[in-house]
Structure formats: C-alpha cells, structure tokens
Symmetry: C2
Subunit: 223 residues, 2 copies
C-alpha cells in the first residue's frame, strides 16, 4: 500500500508553532491509530458546525459514518469540504509563567471533500474498518448489519492526502529569566485514557463471559 | 448570575438521537467543567477548519485563546460564526449487533459569533479563567503575563446561549431478537482520563517540590 508523505496545501501547512509540525506519514498514522473519536466540521448555511463522531481508517482513506438523517452528514454528502480533527491529550504543561503553559498532545487535522460511499462492498468494508477502530474484534463477534441497518447508515470517505499533524512532547519551554529565578516548580502532569472493568449488559443471562477482545483491551491500556 | 435554560435554535436542536439530548443548563455546565480541550470550528475560504485548543468558561461566556497570528483566530475575530465542541468519552458500548455499537459520552456544541476581547481587564480575567480550566491553581502560582505576552495573545468570547448538549449513558440498546438469542456478550467498557505522576522540568534545581495544585489534581482523578 502506498504511503505518500504528507503534502500540505496552504491550509494544511502549520503556520503557528512550526516546531510542533510533524511531516512524516508515520506521525499521521500514529495519531489515527490511537484515536477513538474525531471531530467532524462542515459548513451549514455558511456557518461552521463541529460534531464528535466515530471514525476508522485504512491506507489513504478515512471513514466516518452516521445516520442518513444527520444534517452534518447530508451536507458533507453533497460534496462539500469537510475538516476532521483527531486529538490525543497527553499532558498539561505547567510552566513558570502563565503564558508558557501548554498541553502535550498529538493531533491530526484532515481536509478535503468527502465522498459518499455508495458501493455496497466498500460500504460494508468501511463499517468493518470503523468498528475495528472503535471496538476492535467486535465486527467478527457480533451480528453484521442487515439491509435495513445498512440503508439507515451513511458512510463518508475522505482521502488522507491533505493533513496537518502537530505533536508537542516534553517539558515546558520558559523564558530564561523565569528559569533562572528558580522559585517555582514547573513540569508536566501526564494524562492518559485508561479502560475500566467491562460492565455486562443487565439483560445478559448469567454465565456469558466477556470475550477476550473486550477483556484484553481493558487489560492492555488500563493499570 | 443568571443561568438561562438552553434556548436552542434550529441548528442547536438535536435532530438525531433525541433521547440523548440534554436540555438543562446544568448539563452544559457539567460538560464544560469536565473538559480540558475543545475543538473550534471556523470557515476559512468557504471551507471548514477544525482545530483543538484550550478554553475556559464563566457564567454565560466561553473563552478560547490563541496566538494573534493564528488564521483560525483571525477569521473568528472578524465577527464570523464559530462552533465549539467539547466531548468527553466515557465508554465503548459493545452491542450484540455491529449496528448498535455506540459510545457513552457527554458532549456540548456551542454556536455563535465570537467576540474579540479587547478590554484589558476582561482579557486578563479571561486568561485567568482559561488557565483555571487547564491548570487549576496555576494562575496565582506563576508569573502573570507581561505586556508583550498579552499583545501576542488573542482571546475570543462566545456566549453560551446557543448550545446542543448530548449525553449517552448506560448499556447497549439491542434489537429484541438479538437479546433473545443470548449467544453474545454485550456491555460497556468504561474509559476515563487519569493523571499520572508529575514529571519535573529537567531545568529545576533539586528540592523544588511540586505544589499541591499539581499533586492533588493527579491524586484526585488518578487511581
């Protein structure tokens, strides 16, 4: 599978905080792999609308899905431009000055025209890809979508060619005078997402154990 | 301080998943309190741009800030419409069917015209409010912004009057036939953000302990 380097256009070229810009395709892949939700931006009646939703990705294509009734998706389906942001918060940067406070994070913002996925095979595959991102292992374990469910779901595809990736890691960057003063603590308070214990559906009969794709996920990223 | 109920317009009235719509101002406050970052959407050259950034809020006003050089902020400053989303992911909902997979979350999407904060007192206060959201306790502990730093920072204010709040909690909602089949586990894998151990800046001299507003934050939301 080809993995072109990121080819930023004017809007995907990072103007602010250039030292945080990542230009390798591998950086984009890392952010896309680690995320669970994205924020989809569309223009409706001339105004921006930002909504959280699930996504999946494979190769050079990002997929988002939603109800066929959702106005954000209907707008995007009309061939309009969209913007999709995936952000991972890794820590709060406590500097010696209020001004230099910051966050450690990894983010990707993808721009482009969304394409409605109409081919039935691609649509089913896209839903498998999204499910794999949100709930790895669930696609093969659960009942697949029937015709009615497929008809109620819209899937949009966005090419991963125009993307801006920003990554901030490490300690605060303070002014020399503030560092020299030595009177205040500075550093990073890391933050991460951890999984809890699986909570069984109350309608489950006794004795149905959680499958390994759920229990191992919790174990892998939890304490 | 008045706390009007949410007064949704057409775009802030939730069309999809109405059962998840929250209409109390207290629900909005809860989401705003719990978030650390938001996603700001603006329209640039007719296309949406979504960017993660920090925010703060007080009463009926949401503040975001950024460099005066950032094009997203410059666009918003021109009096344009913006959309700000704050999303808290609480769990992955594993259903018996792929179609009914979902996420437990709390989200708020605020719409409106951003106002550039020009009054020096309000600007300084807004920066304190944002710092309190991102790094509680830091504003009083650290060196405050000087004139040059204030000039390099733009602050936007957005009224909290037009907001859509969605909350999903609880187990999966499956089709009756899938529940009756009893062959598959279903439930929720909770997820939450936890703080790690503070990582001191390498430039700190020995013996400077992390202040309580950092250590207690880690303790309060960590294990």
């Amino acid at each position: 599978m080809t993995r072109p380097p990121l080819s930023p256009t004017e809007r995907s070229t990072i103007q602010r905080g250039k030292q945080r810009a990542a230009t390798e395709r591998a950086d984009l892949d890392e952010v896309l792999d680690a995320g669970v939700i994205c924020h989809l931006g569309v223009v409706i009646n001339g105004a921006p609308v930002v909504l959280p939703t699930c996504y999946g990705w494979e190769g050079d294509t990002l997929y988002v899905h939603g109800s066929t009734g959702a106005s954000t998706l209907r707008t995007a389906i009309a061939g309009a431009e969209v913007s999709v942001a995936i952000t991972l918060l890794d820590g709060i940067v406590y500097a010696r000055s209020a001004f230099h406070h910051s966050a450690n994070y990894r983010s990707a913002v993808v721009h482009g025209r969304a394409r409605l996925v109409e081919d039935p095979d691609e649509k089913l595959h896209a839903l498998a890809v999204i499910t794999q991102q949100v709930a790895p292992g669930s696609w093969d374990y659960t009942r697949g979508p029937n015709r009615k469910e497929l008809a109620a779901t819209s899937v949009l595809a966005l090419e991963l060619t125009e993307a801006a990736v920003k990554i901030r890691r490490g300690p605060p960057v303070d002014d020399e005078e503030d560092v020299a003063e030595d009177s205040r603590w500075a550093g990073v308070l890391p933050v991460r997402q951890v999984w809890g214990e699986p909570e069984p559906c109350p309608l489950l009969p006794p004795g149905v154990a959680a499958p390994s794709h759920v229990t191992l996920r919790g174990a892998s990223l939890g304490e």
